[in-house]
Amino acid sequence: MKHKKKLENQEKYSDLILVDLLHPDWKHFFTRYRTDLVGFIIFVILMVMIMVGTYFLKNIGS
């Protein structure tokens, strides 16, 4: 029964957050979309670091 329920979920949801964007699996949000979320957050942090770094670099000597 549990196995069948899992398969039904597989049919309904993917592991990609963009594919499920309009109807995400809220119940297993952090496990199902873990790879997407972790990578996205790392990407965001790196982009912010580049922006902040540039801000400090351009102020050198001002």
Partner: protein, 513 residues
């Protein structure tokens, strides 16, 4: 340029030529030519994202824009900064679609006619992008040869080089060239900084000269109160996000990885490297304002900078890298445009199966024609910046149809057509003189800045133009989809099951083939 520089360029191209020759032997099928056999792992994917994504025109455009408006011109490349994290999410989607071109997606998700429509827009976009790169690199060659080889002649010479190279090697050759030129471009971009700082007398002197002596108040502002404002950055970033999936080469770059994680990691590292490189270009742009105060053509600023700053030998290496960048990037684009023509136009119009050999022959002939169109555009463009803005817009026209096709099961072909036609129509409308004059009389026009003067001509302010056509595309996609019937459920089930099935467990897809 001295003889040592010329020797370095010749040696560099000898190595690149050997790579193309070796790559040629490995091409047997369409998959090999267009997607590199889908064998690329993390390192090559990184280089593909960094190298193929780093165009010579981008460095020319960023330096040129910064020369004109100050540091806020960095957003002409950083518009992808806010979009970049989405690359992590889009990679597995592109791979799981298991398609060679973006038009294949439109065919499977919507209809053959829409696929042909995308292919036509896509080929034009590819030609504009190739034209942009030729124009940008031509400007560099023009500057470093002290106008002995003018931009137009340089464009023709560079085009000849990469057609030979691309027709020989396909995507595999491009990726290996990217691996070499990508690394060297990054190193040389940073090597330029100390030479620039020595020339301008350090950052403190640069600040003093530009802000105090020349009274350029906002030259060091990342967000300017005029010109490139926060609204401007928002609009071009949103436009970039919408058009993220529909750049013609995305299926090649995203779909050529062996595993999904290879593509994801490659996109992460390659994109970060590229954004960091942009920072070094930005500082070179600021240095150019100080070093060359009276340039009439700002596109020449970067070429002049490398000519003045780099010692002999390194100058040759930089030019070789730039030319190699054009060769590999234009090659990827040429392969993408060719794939669109052969797979999505020829195949659908001819309606008969063609052999692999015939497909490759048509592909190689088409490559030459697409480059011809690119050369024509390069010669017609008034500046690299103008071409870059056109490129952004072309990608966004089909963007909502792609996004809706992925995230919204209800989206149908009528909505997609309405979105594309609506976006293009509104964009064309915003370029008409009667509309510009109507908007200039609009209440509140002073504060909202609907209309601006650009090189003596009144035009709709770029961010507003983007907001107008993006809004049209978005609203029409939703309204028309809701007013018309949805697509048959069986097709949709098959499509979404593919997206739910990771690469490597394709056996699960057998039931739906």
């Amino acid at each position: 340029m001295r003889s040592l520089d010329i020797l370095v360029i010749i040696l560099y191209f000898l190595v690149i030529g050997i790579i193309a020759f070796i790559s040629k032997k490995k091409i047997a099928t369409q998959n090999d030519f267009f997607l590199g056999g889908q064998r690329f792992k993390k390192f090559l994917m990184t280089m593909l994202f960094f190298g193929a994504g780093t165009h010579t025109d981008q460095v020319v455009a960023v330096v040129s824009k910064i020369y004109r408006v100050g540091l806020s011109g960095i957003w002409y490349q950083w518009l992808w900064l806010f979009t970049s994290p989405f690359y992590w999410l889009k990679l597995p989607i592109l791979r799981r679609l298991r398609r060679m071109t973006t038009a294949d997606f439109f065919e499977e998700r919507y209809s053959t006619n829409l696929s042909i429509c995308y292919a036509i827009i896509g080929i034009f976009t590819v030609a504009v992008d190739i034209g942009l790169m030729l124009k940008g690199t031509g400007a560099i060659v023009d500057a470093v040869t002290l106008h002995q080889l003018p931009t137009d002649w340089a464009i023709l010479a560079i085009a000849g080089l990469f057609v030979f190279y691309g027709v020989m090697g396909g995507l595999v050759a491009a990726v290996w060239t990217d691996a070499i030129q990508g690394t060297l471009t990054m190193i040389l971009s940073f090597l330029l900084i100390p030479f620039m700082l020595m020339n301008v007398g350090g950052m403190a002197n640069l600040h003093f000269e530009l802000e105090q002596v020349r009274n350029l108040k906002h030259v060091f502002s990342l967000v300017s109160p005029v010109g490139i404002t926060a609204f401007y950055i928002f609009a071009i970033s949103l436009n970039g996000l919408v058009g993220m999936f529909t750049q013609p080469q995305v299926m090649q770059t995203g779909g050529s990885c062996k595993k999904e994680m290879d593509g994801r990691v490659g996109s992460l590292i390659g994109t970060v490297l590229k954004r960091v490189c942009t920072v070094s270009w930005a500082f070179i742009g600021l240095g150019c304002i100080y070093m060359f105060p009276n340039l009439t053509d700002s596109d020449l600023a970067f070429g002049k900078a490398i000519y003045v700053l780099l010692p002999t030998g390194l100058l040759g290496l930089m030019i070789a890298c730039m030319l190699a960048a054009v060769m590999s990037t234009c090659d990827v684009l040429m392969v993408s445009g060719t794939a669109l023509f052969t797979r999505n136009i020829v195949k659908n119009v001819a309606k008969t199966a063609l052999s692999e050999e015939k497909f490759l022959l048509i592909s190689r002939t088409t490559s030459v024609v697409i480059v011809g169109l690119g050369i024509f555009i390069a010669l017609k463009l008034s500046s690299v910046i103008e071409g870059l803005e056109l490129f952004w817009k072309l990608n966004a026209f089909t963007g909502f149809a792609f996004w809706a096709g992925i995230i919204w099961k209800r989206a149908n072909v009528y909505g997609a057509w309405a979105s594309i036609i609506g976006s293009v129509s509104v964009w064309l409308l915003t370029t008409q003189s009667f509309f510009i004059s109507f908007m200039s009389n609009f209440p509140g026009v002073e504060s909202l800045r609907f209309v601006v003067e650009k090189e003596g001509v009144m035009s709709i302010y770029l961010p507003w133009q983007m907001v107008f056509y993006l809004a049209a595309g978005f609203i029409l996609m939703i309204i028309v989809t809701y007013l018309t019937k949805s697509l048959p459920g069986k097709n949709m089930d098959r499509f979404y099951r593919k997206l739910r099935t990771p690469i490597g467990v394709d056996a699960q897809l057998d039931v739906i083939k």
